[in-house]
């Protein structure tokens, strides 16, 4: 599957909710995961990145070189963030924005609702790197790239330290 890359304006499109999880949706999720795996070290992918405008994302930070807290392999349909807490600056890159990384401020902790591929609804809390990955992917569903949230590298002075627990 081809990954759309900016400045393709389709990446700025808002995706539609999934009404029912049918065979086509399940086949698409399979293809979306294959596209993620084909990307260089991608911990997540969102449907619009492969030119499909349904609210579906996949996130998996369970296989990091330096392990981070995680909930395993997450297939999320119609995900919604219900609560945010804290802020943290981190470096992000994107399959849809090759050869560039930048600093982005994200919530440190989020509460999330979503449906999995069997139609079961879930509510859970995520924090740190996994929460960052989820927020990055959910942004794609609203036509936002990390480029829309860039902050200067020069403004990073000591901010991390303040947020350390």
């Amino acid at each position: 599957m081809e990954i759309l890359t900016y400045p393709d304006q389709r990446l700025k499109q808002i995706s539609e909710s999934v009404e029912s999880i049918d065979k086509d949706v399940l086949n698409f999720i399979h293809e979306l995961e294959q596209a993620r795996m084909a990307g260089p070290g991608a911990v997540g992918i969102a449907a619009p990145q492969v030119n499909n405008f349904q609210r579906i994302v996949i996130v998996d930070v369970s296989d990091m070189r330096k392990p981070v807290d995680n909930h395993g392999h997450l297939i999320m349909i119609n995900p919604e963030i219900a609560a945010w807490d804290g802020m943290h600056m981190g470096r992000e890159g994107c399959l849809s924005v090759p050869d560039f990384t930048g600093n982005v401020i994200r919530a440190e902790k989020i509460k999330l609702n979503y449906m999995d591929e069997t139609g079961e609804t879930h509510e859970f809390e995520s924090s740190g790197f996994e929460a960052r990955a989820i927020q990055h992917e959910l942004d794609h569903l609203d036509g936002l790239l990390f480029l829309d949230r860039l902050v200067s590298r020069r403004s990073d002075l000591f901010k991390r330290k303040n947020y350390k627990k």
Partner: protein, 170 residues
């Protein structure tokens, strides 16, 4: 096409960036990476420019350099296809200002395998009690532990913090 790295420095005044970039644009030059900042009363520009072999950048900028009293230095960029390395560590340093903070910290880090990609320092505090602040990013070619050990061995009059940069790709 070839790539050149331009350095321009001169007394700060309004319109330097516009004049330099407009002249390059009108001659069909393409700006890639740029870093520009005020250094004391000077303004400094570092630019990576791709341009036609036939274009003489010094000639293109000569009038502006003369009118605005800018010093121009040009280097040919030999490796035009180089991919930017992603830094994997960030170091912040601060303390009461004294001579040698940058030399001491970067020497220790160099021996421990750090390849610096980006570094900035500034003075803050008051005239009586100035503080020195440095942030840098780089590649830990001998691992992060080696860098942390090197920093642990530094003088205790400065605060040093090393963070790994865990770049998210989504």
């Amino acid at each position: 096409m070839k790539c050149s790295v331009l350095t321009l420095v001169g007394a700060d005044q309004a319109g330097i960036v516009a004049a330099v970039t407009d002249a390059l644009y009108k001659q069909g030059c393409s700006l890639a990476q740029a870093s520009m900042m005020r250094l004391g009363a000077n303004f400094a520009i570092m630019l990576r420019v791709s341009h036609d072999e036939a274009k003489d950048l010094r000639n293109i900028l000569s009038e502006i350099c003369e009118n605005m009293s800018l010093h121009l230095h040009i280097d040919e960029d030999v490796d035009t296809d180089v991919l930017r390395p992603d830094p994997d560590v960030q170091v912040t340093v601060y303390g009461a200002d004294r001579n040698g903070i940058v030399a001491q910290v970067t020497s220790a880090l160099a021996v421990a395998g750090l390849n610096i990609i980006d570094l900035e320092t500034d003075l803050g505090g008051t005239k009586d009690k100035p503080i020195y602040i440095m942030t840098l990013e780089g590649l830990a070619t001998k691992g992060v532990e080696s860098l942390q050990n090197a920093l642990n061995a530094l003088n205790s009059d400065i605060e040093v913090n090393l963070d790994e940069i865990n770049t998210l790709r989504g």
